[in-house]
Symmetry: C2
Subunit: 433 residues, 2 copies
Amino acid sequence: MSISLKPYIGSRDFYPDEMRFRSWMFSVQRKICSSYGYGEYSTPILEPLELYAAKSSEEIVSDQLYRFTDRGDREVAIRPELTPSLARIVSARAKELPVPIRMFNIGNFMRYERPGRGRLREFYQLNVDLIGSASASADVEIVSMGAEILKGYGAKNQDFLIRISDRRLMSSYFSDLSSDSLRKLGRLLDKKEKISPEDFQKELLQVKDDKTFSEKVDSFLSLDLEGAFNLSEQEKLDSDAVMHLRQVISDLEKLGFADCLKFDPAIMRGFDYYTGLIFEIYDTHPENRRALFGGGRYDKLMGLFGKHDLPAVGFGMGDVTLENFLKIHELIHEDTQNSAGIYLTLFSKEMMDHNMKIAALLRAGGLEVETSLEPTKKLGRQFEIAEKKNRKFAVVIGEDEILNKMIRIKNLQTGEQKDVSEDDMVSVLREGF
Amino acid sequence: MSISLKPYIGSRDFYPDEMRFRSWMFSVQRKICSSYGYGEYSTPILEPLELYAAKSSEEIVSDQLYRFTDRGDREVAIRPELTPSLARIVSARAKELPVPIRMFNIGNFMRYERPGRGRLREFYQLNVDLIGSASASADVEIVSMGAEILKGYGAKNQDFLIRISDRRLMSSYFSDLSSDSLRKLGRLLDKKEKISPEDFQKELLQVKDDKTFSEKVDSFLSLDLEGAFNLSEQEKLDSDAVMHLRQVISDLEKLGFADCLKFDPAIMRGFDYYTGLIFEIYDTHPENRRALFGGGRYDKLMGLFGKHDLPAVGFGMGDVTLENFLKIHELIHEDTQNSAGIYLTLFSKEMMDHNMKIAALLRAGGLEVETSLEPTKKLGRQFEIAEKKNRKFAVVIGEDEILNKMIRIKNLQTGEQKDVSEDDMVSVLREGF
């Protein structure tokens, strides 16, 4: 029987080279989240189906969920997103966890989608959430953390654009629409850039069969912050939402994001559970203009667990779009590509004991040492292997070296060689040459 | 509708406290594996069912696999173990990867088991594998890495016992048995300690209905290394296996494991794919005598993918038994429990801008800063929150402090307070007091 060597469709194998890159991506996320005092957490890969049936977007539940019945007849699903699990575990310890609760997770998720650029079936995602505060400061913290993570990779303000809005603007502006029509309008605006103007107009008429409706939608989409403020004074827009948004934008400007921040009533975000602020961070690179990630405020989700409401705001940052962003902006950390570590050659079988002793000393000194297991007198062949393995140094030990308590170190990039005493070898290899 | 707040049966939620512990466990594993030059890799959570149908143990496939049919009518399974995925990805790049291939993975796995002590349905596991060398040195490296990881947590040799054997011993000693009976005997020996002596004798007769068989099994189980060597000279035991085992044991003794190493023909390891060396690391703590983890050599697995055979050896170390080991031996790193980071109090709303500036400076200095979002003049209440959040320091900034470019730092454990200039605050907080 011949078994496919490929990973399951839409998922990836990460060999050490790719994994170094992924680990670096995650390490920057961990560093920034920790610096804001967020604690990392983790939840199971499987959840009861009912957790998503009530909480996720309709599209995910009906079309994208990996669901099945377990051997104990429980309906379960592989998690397609994290927020419902977060709501579950926060509700479970609502009394013990001191608010505001600041937590982040980096995990894998699965959605049955057609794989394409920036979209896979198994993806990794950072989720960052701040729970227990409804203040503008909470929103500011979450939005700025998203931007600070990009800057943590070396991105500049000009590399991205923060688009920001509030769910309540649309519902107050179109207060004559039923909640069902509002939801339809939201979904339509969400996909506006992906469909033709004709299709957009056609679908608009399905939301409300009225020729002036299209104009009203246009004027909503072209609102700026001052316009929104004026409308709120006329009670045509939720004034709490506008005041909150003004505060968030003003604070983000003070934090240094004035030049990459835009109020944009067109953004929607997919999930139905958002109740207030929503934001997306866009890539400004001409070849990759697209939403990188986003989030928003979901003040009602915790209440769905039968406990009291807890205001909450957060974002999710997927690894696939992030990787595209980093590559197109050439923000790859050199450590993820450079050669590293030591390859310890083996001259003859009798020298294995001595080699193992040297390897143990180097490892105890914090160095990475890969040893040759097959003895050969052909040093050239061993150096070739060491280079293929992308090692920085090769260490050679012959009978003379053992006698003199020395090792010979070859820098595989420069070709330079050095004889170093066993006493000095750790410091020489740590400093490099 | 009321949704359960508990995680799926047999799986766990890791809140930040538990996650700190888990991250520490994994970080020690990563450190040791890297020091031996192993590269981290990762594979998908889902694999085609056929990958396990051919490769895993029968028990896993028929009773423990989480399997289902996806929306595209593919039979898939959540991975119950890693080795088949490893064989797949190594076979896929067999030509490019320079042998010996040294790789490790830390991932989650699912098996439908009855949850109990040391056994869950979703567990995490370190997998370490060395592929492309059949030498005793390869086995020595793998076994010693397992022990070195325990020592990396602070364990002493007396805390564990390495039990070591070779699959070929049993098959050569019982060369009159069919391969099917051999497999049955292996499974029976594997569970010997879990069943009554009467049941063991009863099942022995099912393997071979011969009264002398029980004695033969007894004499096999009581073999020591010298006895094995003598039998191999009489061609009653596979002499390659015995010589290989003697070499491995002798090398491990030289590496400092003489006092925690035992040849033990009774160990079997569950997986059918082992072909040579097998080992288990046992906990010697009187209250936790049990196998912690183990591994072995599987030289035929790679060949099942239709490519050439590649000798391989490795082990898997599950997080549940490891956590039990660390806790019972009190090997918990203090960083996983100590308070850490800074809680920045907020005196009044007007001071938020200044607070955000200070927080940014402290974060840029590498410090963890959680800020208060709700202003209050009641400092006592803010200190309480900071303590509940297990922070080490609270920082207070009032109008005087702003004027004098100072901050006030309170050590929440000692109660000691210090006024420090903004210029010095990073260094003072990094050093602590």
